[in-house]
Symmetry: C2
Subunit: 186 residues, 2 copies
């Protein structure tokens, strides 16, 4: 941030009086521009013993496999956002069930939320952000080619809970990046 | 938002190609300025049969009672933010336990998260955003003078679960504002 979104003046980056973190502050109109973490919401769509995975058609992690998820929008609930992203990325209709993953990704200022969801029919396919969409059983999951650690953790938790039939909320804290730059799949 | 935070140019408000919602777009540097919901995090601090409540010293809802909570910051987990807000608003040390409330407040683009927390000692008191801080048993809660519906729902859920000894995650969707303007307590 270089300019004030309200008046166009040049902002400063300093700790406001009575605060404890540096903020972007406009010396002209005195607006403090707070920046806060963003929420990712998505589904783990289930059909019998399989889950619906998407191969990414966009960076970051082009060509790697993920679960349908994206940024929560203003005006929707987290569960509504999860269903919307599943429709956008996998063209799939789901019944959203329980909140399953709640993962703090502090190094990029994100909270990753994932719902268990029931796939309602087999009429799915890649949206503009996906190359392929595929139903996979546990032994078909490409564990070495998953897009994000949030996806890997959620799938591990799911297949682990599945063995017991007891599905609970799983919380994780990811505080350091999992891979080095330059490893994106061409 | 009127000006581009990156180049200072005047922004437009329209739906970008391939998107479905209007965004603030800069015609000069082509930055799309997304706006996303913000996360509120807080604690329900427990001491024996009492919970720690704060009387607000700031607007909105000056003079009404609340639980210690505030905006999640980049770089912290939701549980860390809950403990920080409890220290800031109630000068109280807590051991954060389980996620208890998860409330979509869609009409203001917020997600309210609240943790059950164990108050570690009785050395607490009002921070700069509180007028008073008080331990209250269920029959002392000022039900008609609570600051926000999220606080009321969380307290109701807590005292209800307390009767059974089974504490679970409670999800609610608040999609319309609960009160008319101009009712703030002077
Ligand atoms: Zn300004
Ligand atoms: Zn610009």
């Amino acid at each position: 941030m270089k300019y004030c979104a309200e008046c166009g003046g040049t902002v400063e980056h300093r700790i406001p009086e009575g605060d404890h973190l540096p903020r972007f502050i406009c010396p002209s109109c005195h607006t403090i521009h707070y920046q806060n973490p963003r929420v990712i919401t998505g589904c783990l769509p289930i059909w019998q013993d399989k889950v619906l995975m998407c191969k990414r058609a966009i960076e970051p992690r082009y060509g790697y496999w993920t679960l349908p998820a994206g940024f929560l929008e203003i005006g929707e609930t987290v569960a509504q956002g999860a269903a919307r992203e599943t429709m956008e990325e996998a063209r799939a209709r789901v019944e959203v069930r329980q909140l399953f993953s709640f993962i703090n990704v502090t190094y990029i200022g994100q909270i990753y939320t994932l719902y268990l969801a029931e796939l309602l029919d087999l009429d799915f396919g890649p949206g503009p952000e996906s190359l392929e969409v595929e139903l996979m059983s546990e032994d078909q999951i490409p564990w070495d080619n998953l897009a994000f650690p949030t996806v890997k953790l959620s799938l591990q938790d799911y297949f682990s809970d599945r063995k017991t039939g007891q599905y609970r909320l799983h919380t994780h804290d990811l505080t350091t990046p999992p891979w080095r730059p330059g490893k994106s799949k061409g």
